[in-house]
């Protein structure tokens, strides 16, 4: 294994990490972020790319951090849920959803950071999605509490908020 440090930017801060000391060749990005760097917002639920709970952004694109080796993120920029502003439109929309008929957008909350990050990346690609497009885009994430209807509403509302703020997620 190479012994030269790897450099990963996480939430705009640069981390220099030494293989052998800070991580192993087999350390996943999810493991590094949670266990070594303390970003516990993302969850490791299946650890095999099936549930989406560990989703983070890598150079702005949603990735499953349990399916990437930490060393693969060398030279890249990672955003975790801790890197989003608390008033981020997507976060706000997930918090606020209580429109009658759709329930809430979260219950136990374990899948929520993953859904939020997937949504952030998705709305960057498709700022005004239809319900069908939302269902397609978010079906890589599992919510066992079953809040899909509330989540879909939250994504629609986040899209409206983004448009109103005239910005990009």
């Amino acid at each position: 294994m190479a012994t030269s440090p790897i450099r990963i930017t996480v939430n705009d801060r640069l981390y220099e990490l030494l293989p052998g000391r800070d991580l192993e060749a087999s350390t996943t990005l999810a493991g590094l972020l949670r266990e070594r760097l303390g970003f516990t917002g993302l969850k490791i639920s299946c650890d095999e790319g099936a549930c989406g709970a560990c989703t983070v952004l890598l150079d702005g694109k949603a990735v499953l951090s349990c399916m990437l080796l930490a060393v693969e993120a060398d030279g890249h920029s990672v955003t975790t849920i801790e890197g989003l502003a608390p008033d981020h439109p997507v976060i706000e929309a997930f918090i606020e959803q209580s429109e009658p008929g759709y329930g809430t957008a979260l219950q136990c909350g374990y899948c929520t950071p993953g859904f939020v990050m997937t949504t952030v990346a998705f709305l960057r690609q498709n700022p005004k999605p239809t319900l069908a497009e939302i269902k397609e885009a978010l079906s890589g994430n599992i919510c066992r509490c079953g809040c899909y209807a509330g989540i879909a509403q939250a994504v629609l509302h986040a899209s409206e908020k983004l448009a109103a703020r005239g910005g990009v997620a």
């Binding site: 976060i91 759709y102 329930g103 979260l106 066992r144 079953g146």
Partner: protein
């Protein structure tokens, strides 16, 4: 915008549509779960544990050579089955309690079936935790150490299906309990024939119309996203502290205290937020707490034990095969019902008899009371499969699968609408027929799904896109749980502190697993204390439950926490009012009898404009909060139960066999809606489990080896957003329970009716009945005679 429900009794805070109180913490990723509490970063001396799991469905350990594993750098210690502290542990069960009450070793619910050795030498399924648990500096080292254990296994013959296990000569799992693998009769579940009312044989012989049917369910599993996890620190001379996602802190403390022989004061159990529950480990009595604790004692360092996703397939629903006969008069009046079930308990009994006997017994009382002749007979059978324990809708899901089947069969034979058959026959023994709640939920659901317009003769509807047929179906069930059904809880404890600044700290201990009962509690507290001008924003609910600090936690079972603690708050508020007036009398130098409090102000009865706000009055000192703590048993008032119903519309592709969900209407008579958005989230959310069980989820075993093949979420298919249809959640307030609010738990039951409703809808679509879930495409094609080969 969909139409919101209308409250029967207008309330200030109860029943609102609003965000959850924990929404911000959870949506920003700040909410902490057991797995987030400890890593090497936070706890540098932490070690990680991994337990040996049997690779065989039935085997005994002759010996384990640990030398190579111990020699691996980074291995901190190994605890084995033959060490006196392990070997002397009492034989136990993971069915101590259904969570309603805290029980002791002596009073555990299924004490007849103590078949679990903690880290023993005897394995009864592939995955059974046996023999050894190792501690390593990293999880990878601990895993590697497991591979280095030299285990001498005595491999035994095994059996997977209950029908096979009941035959003479079949391998026997627990000879001391069940020499023929059939779990014996016991005092809690009763005899094999546990309900026998009237004369079923005679009534069936005389009945003008008799129908027979079969329903077969499977061992679906809870699949909480948050894997079971604990961190245990054993501090000699002080306390053993368990941070975990147990959602029964009081019961876990009792379990650990009794199994390890420690006084209750020496055990501390802490649970933060829990990432989904659905019945998993309903009992707080899991063996992994015990061997992790003993390992922590042995290595003298805090130990973390987290289940992998594969290991998280540790228990599930009882696979059950139900057969039934129902006899009726020509006008649809049911005269006799006979049910027989054979349930596959898997390797350990746990709560199998809860599903097979306890839940159906309750159903008989609350829904079948007006049928004069009823018989239930059940056999729980040990096999070498994953054990069945508790899963959301325990027993009721399996029973509903046959009940809704028989109603549909009977209605068809009589040429009646099944809605009319249901209304004609079912209700609680304390109520007259027709049951108002059942009638209203059925009519509301029928309207929402378009029952009259969409229903057609089985298989005779129009064809879409050349090969697709549509159909509608429903199933109903008594709701649970009303307050009288929670009497076993003994007492529900609540503490409210009015702080000097007028805010309120609410100690309504319950581990928040996602159900939203924390928001119900805050709304209930605001409602009860509205005379103090308290709003939900003024209330702080304590989210982390710590047995050192909290009262007894009200367990998230039966979905009943949504109202049980609020009912106690409604009573406690009266004492709070008295105490506030006492404080005000001192501060305002007046007699209590001259003062009153309303709308956040203390004032003179005779001069209502003279007075102070609560904050002004309290800040005048002394700056000590007013705390009211109250323990109160649930009310035993005999109120009967409300009903629930699920209507579905499906589309079946007769060319591919695929069933697609088109629409669902989920109707709950709630008594009182405590928190509308949360109740809707439960109604909608429960369908992922119901639809998954009905169509896609199934554990598959390799028959020659007994190895489960799909303990992962790629092959065990949980519905995603793309798989779920439009769901119309309908909240109603028809029935009324006891107490101030008259509510009941609704969340658990929302999963119950979907599988049967879907099976009935598939029959309506294609005109052929399928008796077994999950309905995968191959079953549809086989039913249509298109299976090929």
């Amino acid at each position: 915008m969909k139409t919101p429900f209308t409250q029967r009794t207008p309330r200030k805070h109860i029943g609102q549509y609003r965000p959850r109180i924990d929404a911000e913490e959870k949506a920003t990723g700040k909410a902490r779960y057991a797995d987030d509490l400890a890593s090497k970063l936070r706890v540098p001396d932490l070690v990680y544990a991994k337990v040996l799991r049997s690779p065989y469905p039935h085997a005994r350990i002759r010996s384990i050579d640990t030398r190579a594993a111990l020699a691996l750098p980074g291995v901190v210690g190994i605890l084995t089955y033959d060490e006196p502290e392990v070997a002397s542990l009492k034989v136990t069960s993971a069915g101590w309690t259904d969570g309603v009450d805290t029980v002791s070793y002596e009073t555990m619910m299924w004490r007849r079936y103590k078949d679990r050795r903690v880290l023993g030498d005897y394995a009864c399924w592939v995955g059974d935790e046996v023999g050894a648990v190792v501690a390593g500096e990293t999880e990878a080292i601990a895993e590697e150490a497991l591979r280095l254990l030299k285990v001498d296994w005595e491999v035994l013959p095994f059996v997977l299906e209950s029908e096979e296990a009941m035959k003479p000569g079949a391998p026997v799992l627990h000879p001391e309990i069940a020499p023929d693998n059939v779990m014996p009769e016991d005092t809690v579940g009763g005899p094999h024939r546990f309900v026998d009312k009237g004369d079923v044989d005679k009534a069936l012989a005389k009945a003008p119309v008799v129908v027979e049917g079969t329903s077969i369910s499977h061992n679906a599993t809870q699949s909480s996203l948050d894997p079971w996890c604990c961190v245990i620190e054993w501090k000699q001379g002080t306390q053993v502290t368990v941070w975990s996602n147990s959602y029964e802190t009081d019961q876990s403390r009792m379990h650990i205290s009794q199994m390890l022989g420690l006084p209750i004061t020496r055990v501390r159990v802490v649970s933060p937020y829990v990432g989904g529950q659905f019945g998993r480990g309903d009992t707080g009595d899991q063996p992994f707490f015990l061997f992790t604790a003993l390992l922590a004692k042995k290595v003298g360092r805090p130990v973390k034990f987290k289940h992998t996703r594969r290991e998280s397939f540790h228990d599930g629903r009882q696979q059950a095969t139900y057969t039934a006969r129902v006899g009726a008069k020509k006008d649809g009046t049911i005269v006799a019902m006979e049910f027989k079930s054979i349930g596959n308990a898997g390797a350990h009994a746990d709560h199998t008899m809860f599903a097979l006997k306890f839940a159906p017994m309750e159903l008989t009382e609350v829904a079948l009371a007006h049928v004069p002749n009823v018989r239930f007979e059940a056999y729980g059978v040990y096999t070498n499969k994953m054990p069945a324990c508790m899963m959301r809708g325990v027993g009721n899901s399996q029973t509903n699968l046959i009940l809704g089947h028989m109603v549909d069969l009977l209605a068809e034979k009589l040429g009646m609408d099944p809605i009319d058959v249901a209304i004609k026959n079912f209700g609680h023994e304390w109520e007259r027929l027709p049951n108002k709640s059942l009638t209203e939920v059925l009519h509301a659901g029928a309207k929402r799904i378009g029952w009259k317009e969409k229903r057609h003769q089985p298989g005779q509807g129009p064809t879409f896109e050349g090969t697709k047929k549509r159909g509608v179906g429903f199933s109903f069930h008594p709701g649970w749980h009303a307050e009288w059904q929670e009497v076993r809880r003994g007492e529900v404890q609540v503490g409210m502190t009015l702080n000097p600044d007028g805010t309120v700290t609410l100690d309504a201990p319950t581990v928040e697993t996602g159900t939203g009962s924390n928001t119900c509690n805050v709304l209930g507290c605001a409602e009860a204390l509205s005379f103090l001008g308290v709003t939900p924003a003024d209330i702080h609910w304590v989210a982390v439950i710590d047995t050192n600090l909290s009262g007894k936690d009200c367990v998230q079972t039966d979905s009943a926490v949504s109202f049980l603690q609020s009912e106690v708050m409604a009573v406690a508020a009266k004492e709070m009012k008295q105490r506030v007036l006492e404080r005000a009398a001192r501060n305002l130098k007046a007699g209590i009898e001259d003062l009153d409090v309303a709308e956040g102000r203390v004032f003179f009865k005779k001069k209502p404009k003279e007075g102070k706000t609560i904050r002004e009055m309290m800040m005048a000192g002394p700056l000590v909060g007013i705390t009211v703590k109250l323990s109160r048993p649930p009310l035993a008032e005999r109120t009967g139960v409300p009903f629930i119903v699920t209507f579905v519309e499906v589309e079946v592709d007769t060319a591919t066999g695929r069933t697609q969900m088109l629409n669902m209407a989920v109707v709950n008579d709630c008594g009182t809606v405590m928190y509308a958005s949360g109740a809707e989230a439960q109604q909608i959310g429960g369908q992922i489990i119901g639809v998954g069980e009905a169509l896609t989820e199934e554990i598959i075993y390799d028959k020659p080896t007994g190895v489960p093949l799909n303990f992962n979420w790629i092959d065990y298919k949980i519905p995603t957003m793309a798989d779920m249809p439009e769901i119309d959640p309908v909240l109603m307030e028809v029935w009324r329970g006891g107490g101030e609010y008259g509510a009941c738990g609704i969340g658990e039951g929302t999963v119950t009716c979907a599988p049967r409703a879907i099976l009935n809808a598939i029959y309506n679509a294609i005109g052929v009945r399928i008796d077994q879930i999950p309905v995968k495409p191959e079953k549809v094609l086989a039913a249509l005679g298109k299976a090929g080969r």
